[in-house]
């Protein structure tokens, strides 16, 4: 880059100054350019055409495009890899719950079901909790406490997924099966409709455990977004409501939440995106069974845990291709959720832009 840099400067200033060196990296201290003869004010024109600028702009643009290419490449690679399976099973791949490596019949329904159900559990638990935490941080906590709470919740996001998995399997699951699961069966098991969800042996592992651990894992992400969007509410709005005699709860529920609704939903979708694709924690605690049960206590499977467990064992091309097809399903699913989330967050930001 240094060579081209010198060229650029020469072209820009219109003076021959060979051999000047701008060092090996972008972060070197600036070298003082030698005194140059005064040049006519054509710097702007010259700069626009300077090869150094063109090179620099081109390089950065190349890497920006690389981001696009890698996401596009993921999609293409997955489609190509999944093609044999999709051709063999057609759309029935999504509808069949059979998963038999011996007879080579594969269907995505069981892992897809597990993915969706665990994510729904995660949202059902995670959303209200995240909302509460965001409310405490933005409205309730004294100034000195806001930062520590925020940092502590963010630490939950820093802990690697595999740690959640180990903790979930060895620590949480035994406690869960000994105390919480029997309680749930006893108190909710006889209810109409929901009762069937809480039947079966309390094994500790299963869909509900996976969903709960997912909830803990996505809380920091949703809290962060909610906190940020809550802070975009103009103080005048909030203070007017307080001045009218609103309670804190009313301010949040009737002023802050309506104002930030799009952003909050965007944050929830981001959390959903995380939950759908989370792998290691789920792999530890879900039980890995290609089955569909109504009861949340039963072991199941998600797309990502199937991939983690079986990818290195897949020996036949069709088996591998079916796993890639599962990956494709997961990717498309998260893509849809994430695109929707980003569009919503962008809409909130755009509205904010209009106001200022």
């Amino acid at each position: 880059m240094s060579g081209l840099g010198a060229v650029a400067r020469n072209a820009g200033a219109g003076s021959a100054e060979p051999g000047s060196d701008f060092g090996g990296g972008p972060l070197d201290p600036p070298t003082v350019p030698p005194a140059e003869p005064p040049v006519p004010p054509r710097a702007v024109v010259a700069r626009a055409q300077s090869p150094g600028d063109r090179f620099f702009r081109g390089t950065t643009q190349f890497f920006a495009v690389l981001v696009l290419v890698s996401v596009f490449g993921m999609l293409v690679t997955l489609v190509v890899g999944a093609w044999p399976a999709l051709k063999t099973f057609g759309l029935g791949f999504l509808a069949s719950k059979e998963w038999n490596p011996v007879t080579e019949r594969f269907g995505a329904l069981a892992p897809l079901y597990g993915t969706v159900i665990t994510s729904i559990i995660a949202l059902a638990v995670g959303v209200p909790v995240s909302f509460g935490i965001a409310l405490v941080i933005t409205e309730l906590a004294p100034r000195w406490l806001k930062r520590p709470i925020g940092v502590a919740i963010e630490l939950l996001a820093a802990i690697p997924s595999i740690i959640y998995g180990m903790w979930g399997l060895f620590v949480f699951a035994p406690v869960f099966s000994a105390h919480l699961q029997p309680w749930l069966t006893e108190h909710l098991g006889s209810w109409p409709m929901v009762g069937a969800l809480f039947q079966g042996a309390p094994m500790g592992i299963g869909m509900l455990t996976a969903g709960l651990i997912l909830a803990i894992m996505i809380i920091p992400f949703m809290t962060a977004v909610m906190r940020d969007v809550f802070e975009t509410v103009p103080p005048a709005l909030r203070e007017s409501a307080y001045a009218l005699g609103c309670t804190t709860w009313e301010v949040v529920w009737q002023v802050v939440l309506p104002y930030t609704r799009v952003g909050v939903i965007g944050g929830i979708m981001l959390g959903l995106g995380r939950a759908l694709g989370e792998t290691m924690a789920v792999t530890f605690v879900i039980g890995n069974a290609h089955d569909i049960h109504l009861s949340l206590f039963m072991p199941g499977n998600t797309i990502s845990s199937t991939l983690a467990n079986e990818f290195t064992e897949a020996v036949t091309p069709l088996y591998t291709s079916s796993l890639l097809a599962l990956g494709l399903v997961l990717f498309v699913l998260t893509l849809v959720v994430l695109v929707a989330a980003r569009l919503m967050l962008m809409r909130l930001r755009a509205r904010e832009g209009e106001r200022t």
């Binding site: 150094g52 495009v65 981001v67 909790v129 919740i153 820093a158 690697p160 709860w249 009313e250 990818f311």
Partner: protein, 291 residues
């Protein structure tokens, strides 16, 4: 609320009490939610230190992973993880910084910039296991075997969006007045960026790189079918490569007690490392903001 002035003050009083009650309940639930969140953090860390600290010993850092029943450490896995993380950050961070530079300096209002920004945000939250599958299909299948380079590439793809995002944000914090001042002195655009903008955004950009490093050093899913794992000492990146997360996964799921102890020790090591990196990153960021 001068309720007493009203004729049917009782009804108003009732309304007032109800509103207060709803407020109380709502806020109490919120505080409970916060405690709920903090409770899990406490429990996790408690478990981690409780089950891991006992098994931390000097042997961990000098001996390779043992077969079940034998003595050993995690040294090869630790070294492997350090190399993999360094290679991943080494590939992903420069690419991310340059792409972020494009977004902040050239692509602010361009259509390409908007698209890249959007797609980058998608990549940022895309499941890491998909990245692993992608690299598997792209590299491992073609090469015919698992390799350290494939693992590093997968990590690089996870580093990339984090660094792009933070680099753009940090460079945008640099006031345009600085850029204009440099341009007014006759500096070409590339020089303005390198000498002026990078310099003031450097701590922020480093924070992004550190955060990305923290994120990938615990990543397991993308390594499972790229770098795989290796029981022995290896610095050959073209072969299956030892790494700590995969060892933890394998050992934790095993029925052997001594393997499980090593897994807990490894889990503690990884988490402490990540927390320390996070704290350093936060410290850096704070210093940038206060500057």
């Amino acid at each position: 609320m001068s309720v007493s002035l009203h004729k049917d003050s009782r009804q108003l009083n009732l309304l007032y009490t109800k509103r207060q009650l709803v407020n109380r309940i709502g806020l109490t639930l919120s505080v409970l939610a916060t405690l709920f969140g903090l409770f899990w953090l406490g429990w996790l860390l408690w478990t981690l230190f409780g089950s891991g600290l006992r098994w931390i010993s000097p042997r961990l850092f000098v001996e390779a992973t043992p077969p079940p029943g034998a003595n050993g450490g995690l040294a090869n896995a630790i070294l492997g993880s350090v190399i993999l993380t360094a290679a991943g950050v080494g590939m992903g961070a420069p690419a991310g910084i340059l792409a972020g530079t494009y977004l902040a300096e050239f692509g602010r209002h361009s259509r390409l910039g908007a698209i890249v920004r959007f797609v980058n945000d998608i990549l940022l939250s895309a499941p890491s296991i998909i990245v692993g599958v992608f690299v598997y299909a792209l590299v491992v299948v073609r090469a015919g075997h698992f390799s350290g380079w494939a693992g590093a590439l997968a990590l690089a793809l996870i580093v990339l969006p984090v660094v792009v995002r933070t680099t753009e944000n940090m460079m945008r914090l640099v006031p345009d007045g600085l850029r204009e001042a440099a341009a007014a002195l006759g500096a070409p655009r590339w020089k303005v960026t390198m000498v002026v903008v990078y310099r003031s955004a450097l701590p922020g950009i480093m924070t992004g790189v550190l955060l990305a490093m923290a994120r990938v050093s615990g990543e397991t899913a993308p390594l499972l079918f790229t770098a795989l794992n290796n029981q022995f000492w290896s610095t050959d990146m073209s072969r299956p490569f030892p790494n700590l997360p995969a060892v933890i996964f394998q050992f934790a799921m095993s029925p052997y007690d001594d393997w499980q102890h090593l897994a807990w020790a490894g889990a503690l090591l990884i988490t402490v490392t990540i927390l320390v990196i996070n704290i350093v990153a936060r410290f850096l960021l704070r210093r940038t903001r206060s500057n």
